[in-house]
């Protein structure tokens, strides 16, 4: 078992004919993910990836024809809100949006609409999901993680890779890795994923990678102290970031004294979480316990 994606995942790739969409669809396919369809308005009827994956004009048709149950979105920011709404109305139950730079008012509308429906959004501005050895939805390089019992959840993309890679170097594997994305408004937060890992029999240990900005880590800390029985390890990026500066991620804004790395680390430690000084320390900390 695992969370969110596994060998039953049937994936439709929105924006499959774009450069990134095509490159990573091939990677996912090679990893073993059931990439059953792609979409690109106006290119319905074509086939891509050596004729292995059919392209449809819309997600609705892709779902009707192929039984896709999960969507991954590679479309540009200005079309991403529409793409998420399209996926939500098509009957898939999981949407993973990788797109970066979506206007925040678009995301507020999308999120408030999705909250009325039975569909989960992961992202946007995230690297997606990886259940090593079973399925990969997104862009996390498949070869940097091996199957195991560590659940990883992270707001950051490449920083997540560091952690997976560092674990693999010590021959430690992941149950599922979830990149929730760094945008201020997203679909799935730390608490959602922590709850899933807590319920997942395959996961024994949880690694949570946070960063400055917002208060999601503080809320996660509170949740951990009340509801999580499995050991949690963490790293929070941005201790050296100067306050008031926007560090790439729209989420990473330090306003007033809210959301500093110091505060987050303090909250997590108070909740019994072991917090690393840098990401590569995490495997040894887990081994040490």
């Amino acid at each position: 078992m695992s969370i969110l994606i596994d060998s039953n995942t049937r994936l439709v790739v929105q924006g499959i004919t774009g450069r990134e969409g095509l490159f990573h669809s091939r990677q996912m396919l090679e990893y073993g993910t059931h990439v059953v369809a792609g979409t690109r308005p106006g290119k319905g009827g074509e086939w891509v990836l050596d004729g292995k994956v059919p392209v449809f004009d819309s997600v609705q048709i892709a779902v009707d024809v192929t039984g896709a149950n999960t969507s991954v979105i590679f479309v540009p920011a200005r079309f991403a809100a529409d793409a998420m709404l399209e996926a939500a109305d098509s009957g898939v139950n999981l949407i993973v949006c990788l797109t970066e730079g979506i206007p925040v008012q678009d995301m507020m509308r999308v999120r408030n609409y999705l909250d009325q429906r039975e569909v989960r959004l992961v992202g946007p501005n995230c690297p997606g999901l990886l259940t090593p050895g079973e399925s990969k939805v997104g862009i996390i390089p498949g070869n940097i993680a091996i199957p195991g019992n560590i659940g990883v959840v992270s707001r950051s993309g490449t920083l997540t890779y560091e952690v997976l890679y560092a674990l693999k170097e010590k021959n430690m594997g992941a149950s599922t890795c979830v990149g929730i994305g760094g945008d201020p408004i997203n679909g799935t937060n730390f608490i959602d994923v922590l709850a899933m890992f807590e319920d997942d029999p395959k996961t024994d240990t949880i690694v949570m990678i946070g960063e400055i900005g917002g208060t999601d880590e503080e809320k996660a800390a509170e949740y951990i102290s009340k509801h999580i029985t499995k050991p949690v390890y963490s790293f929070i990026a941005g201790a050296t970031a100067p306050p008031g500066k926007r560090m790439g991620h729209a989420g990473a804004i330090v306003e007033g004294s809210e959301g500093t790395a110091q505060e987050k680390v303090k909250a997590l430690r108070a909740a019994g979480v072991a917090v690393a000084n840098h990401p590569e320390e995490i495997p040894d900390m887990i081994l040490g316990d």
Partner: protein
């Protein structure tokens, strides 16, 4: 993108918010002519994108056109918190009886816009927020439904707005909401909204921040950009699709991904160094981007060593390597460079860089320690 007071107020006025009569001047003479046109007393207000303009002498009341010219000259010669004053707004002076604060911003926790109002408006609103937050009324707006009249009523009641002004207040609140919404603002603020002696509401000062990610919907706003507030290197970086923030340390960093970039800075510090910058080349960075990034880093004279940390996902190691080689060719740096490539096509990248004169590292900790050592060695 931050907008100037005069720009913000004009956008509010487009949506029905009353603002003072006034115009922009770039010379003292223009200020005088505007003051003559307006008649009576005017306020001469520096247009710079920092707070505390009043305390810095950037806002002055002029009783007549001659005085407006003199004050405009003084203000146009000011530099406020490092920013030159290039324009002044000359506004009709208003008869201020009461100062109210009104603002809309995004509440990320609630995932909704939040409309804030306070009867204690004016320059001390931040003090109010810090010491007596209960004096600020907050109402969340459903992003699908939009601002409703009953919510405006609750704001009006909450700040004890006199009843005979409720209709005017409704117009102002809806105007501010429309401006916030239609221009994709992340902040739209009127402070103060004043009540005049003859019982009118006027937005005397205004502020807007536009969501940079939404500027594609507002190409006309691009002309509103004030380059003074933006560091030249940061602007250059932005043009290349990079995010660069200059810091005070000696180790230049080039990383893909904001989180990893911050973590790289953190680990440099952890091993005793100081990062010279934050630089995220973003996802899917290509040769051109990488070359531009390296040029920008090397422009900073404080930089004693460079740490390149690329974990390939969308970004491919081979393209990054090609970019580095192109930049080296062009810039011919004399300082030590530490490079760490992992992930997608990292192997190919490392092969391409094998012949370049660079220090390589396997782990992030190793890379950081080597960069710190190299920066020291280079002193």
């Amino acid at each position: 993108m931050k907008l100037h007071e005069y720009q913000s107020k004009r956008l509010f006025a487009e949506h029905g918010v009353p603002i003072p009569n006034g115009e922009i001047a770039t010379t003292p003479e223009e200020a005088r002519i505007i003051a003559e046109k307006l008649g009576g007393a005017v306020v001469v207000k520096s247009q710079v994108l920092v707070g505390g303009r009043g305390k810095a002498g950037g806002i002055k009341l002029a009783k007549n056109p001659a005085e407006a010219q003199i004050l405009a000259e003084k203000i146009l010669n000011l530099e406020i918190k490092g920013l030159p004053v290039r324009k002044v707004l000359v506004d009709e002076a208003a008869d201020i009886q009461t100062e109210i604060y009104l603002g809309i911003t995004n509440d990320r926790a609630a995932k909704k816009p939040v409309f804030m109002a306070s009867a204690a408006g004016g320059v001390d609103i931040e003090e109010v927020a810090a010491t007596t937050p209960e004096k600020i009324i907050k109402i969340h707006i459903d992003p699908l439904l939009g601002l409703q009249d009953f919510q405006v009523l609750n704001l009006a009641v909450g700040i004890e707005m006199p009843r005979d002004l409720w209709d005017q207040f409704n117009t102002v609140a809806h105007g501010l909401w429309q401006a916030y919404k239609s221009f994709d603002a992340t902040l739209a603020e009127i402070n103060p909204l004043i009540i005049t002696g003859d019982n009118r509401l006027i937005a005397v000062d205004g502020k807007m921040i536009i969501d940079d990610n939404a500027l594609f919907r507002h190409p006309d706003l691009e002309s509103h950009r004030d380059l003074d507030v933006e560091d030249a290197s940061e602007t250059e970086a932005k043009e290349h699709g990079l995010t660069y923030i200059k810091l005070e340390g000696e180790i230049g960093c080039m990383v893909n991904g904001a989180g990893l970039a911050m973590a790289t800075m953190d680990i440099i510090k952890f091993f005793g160094g100081e990062p010279a910058n934050f630089l995220d080349i973003g996802g899917g960075a290509d040769e051109q981007k990488v070359a531009a990034a390296l040029r920008i880093i090397l422009k900073d004279p404080n930089v004693k060593a460079v740490l390149i940390n690329i974990f390939g996902g969308i970004t491919r190691g081979d393209l990054v390597a090609k970019g580095i080689l192109a930049a080296l060719e062009e810039v011919k740096p004399t300082i030590p460079m530490v490079v760490r490539l992992v992930g997608t096509n990292a192997e190919e990248g490392r092969e391409l860089l094998a012949n370049a004169d660079m220090i390589t590292a396997e782990t992030l900790a190793d890379a950081a320690q080597k960069a710190v050592a190299a920066a020291r060695g280079g002193n």
